[in-house]
Amino acid sequence: MTFFLFNLLNGLQLSMLIFLMAVGLTVIFGLMDILNLAHGAFYMVGAYFGYVVFQTTESFWISLLIGPLLSLALGFLLQYYVLQPLIDRGRTAHLDMALLTFGLLFFTIGLVDLIFFETLGLTFMSIDKPAGLGSYIDIGIMYPTYRLFVIALGLIVALAVWLLLDRTVIGAVVRAGVDDREMVRAMGVNIYLVFACVFGLGCWLAGLAGVVAGAGLSIDINMGVQILIPTLVVVVLGGLGSVKGCFFGALIVGMTETLSQAYVPALALFATYLLLAAMLIFRPQGFFGRAPKTV
């Protein structure tokens, strides 16, 4: 029972980390029809820049606050000055965007490697957990406090994203854009600015996940690619563009990865992909996917 509870909480923690990544990816895809494979790069950027901020200030909280801002700025600029102009010139195919952003992911990995490893010689990097979140807490089992913090943070972000999308006029603009981008423009909305803001916000969440992971796990050159794969699975499971689906998809993937590792280690390597294949065969639009259109 203790073992199960421990793994359940670990699964929940991983789920929340993946959710922070996937929610940006799915909203960007739903609204702009861009498959942003560079999302893993923004996760990396958050972690590495968070590390730099942490080294300078020695504060986890400042690093959590400032680290993701670089991801936000870069995401905004990428969408506004690179992706959108390409789309306007007719490069709208998913493959065009996937190839470009995939290239950007590896460019970022190379650049980070050049700076942090080749130049500065840093290998094992991590951000120290803040005082008070660095030890264990007794909740029936002794459980790392920091992991509970990650779970809480994920739930808060999920609630905030839901409130933003469901209850505000900005959220209504985004939902309208998922239904019919052209009509949103025809209502007087500067949709390019909305696109860039949403893209930046999604990248900010990826950066936030990066800092969080930088203190919980470790910071290394492969982290962006490693997180990208379960993230993509979540987006497919939940249905492209669906936040609700993204939340449940993240729970399923996080739990599957953690519990299969704990109970059936032989399955762990491919359990997630089994899930993905089954979904694509039986319900390719995902749990909450729908045909988005005006009525």
Binding site: V173, D179, D180, R185, A186, M187, Y192, T294, V295
Partner: protein
């Protein structure tokens, strides 16, 4: 000097002037030099058969399908290269052919987004909704729960929230029962009486002529006739060849 200037300048009461518009979808040449003019306070009906280029003309004016060449002037400003949202904010309301109602937004959210985009207050909404009592009873309904007539009314109400000088409508009577067509017509007559100019594309010629002060007939992307409804009446060959009515 002044006489020379007036020769080149558009008519003093012209609100929208489109001159020699050429528009393409990819490689196919859709509009071959379309020109039209909407005067202040008046309604121009743009008529023609399916595929004549009527919708493309409207989309070109609001920049959704930008012209490759030609010039569009609105309220004495060159809007040819404006992004769509800027033309809308400068005072053009656009109601597209499929009405453009969002299935996942409530009626209130449709109106909120339009108010937000055009920086208008709730007072503007309350003012506009006086024209649409049935819409105001359905504020919490989602777009997909509305009937065709209600969707059309919402699309018009939404376009009016920016307080436009010109309202552009693409076949507002399409798919509506005759009694609802009359309701849309009466609503548009009231909007016109309030001083808003209208550019109307219609298949329903009777409804269009009930509203129009002038008529432009399109066929295969070129203008075949421009004149008053009475002048159109006097040309049965135009009506027969390009509109399919005698």
């Amino acid at each position: 000097m002044s006489s020379m200037a007036s020769q080149n300048a558009p008519e003093p009461d012209a609100l929208l002037t489109a001159t020699d518009m050429h528009t393409y979808y990819g490689d196919s040449h859709i509009l071959h030099g379309v020109s039209l003019e909407v005067r202040r306070g008046e309604c121009l009906a743009l008529l023609g058969r399916n595929g004549a280029g009527k919708s493309t003309t409207l989309r070109s004016i609001v920049g959704l399908t930008p012209v490759r060449s030609g010039k569009i002037t609105f309220a004495d400003q060159d809007i040819t290269r404006n992004p769509t949202h800027r033309s809308i904010r400068e005072g053009i309301g656009y109601v597209p052919e499929d009405r453009g109602i969002f299935s996942s937004l409530t009626v209130r959210e449709h109106l909120d987004v339009a108010l937000w985009a055009n920086r208008k207050s709730v007072d503007q909404r309350d003012e506009v909704l006086k024209l649409f009592p049935r819409i105001s009873e359905r504020m919490s309904h989602f777009g997909q729960q509305l009937s065709g007539g209600e969707q059309q009314m919402l699309a018009i109400a939404r376009a009016l929230l920016a307080d436009p000088d010109l309202l552009i409508l693409d076949e507002p009577s399409e798919g509506l029962a005759p009694i609802l067509v009359d309701e849309v017509r009466d609503t548009l007559l009231r909007i016109k009486a309030g001083g808003t100019s209208i550019l109307l594309v219609e298949q329903n010629v009777a409804m269009a002529l009930a509203l129009a002060d002038s008529v432009t007939v399109l066929s295969q992307g070129t203008v075949k006739f421009t004149g008053s409804p009475a002048e159109l009446e006097a040309k049965p060959d135009i009506k027969d060849t390009y509109l399919g009515i005698a």
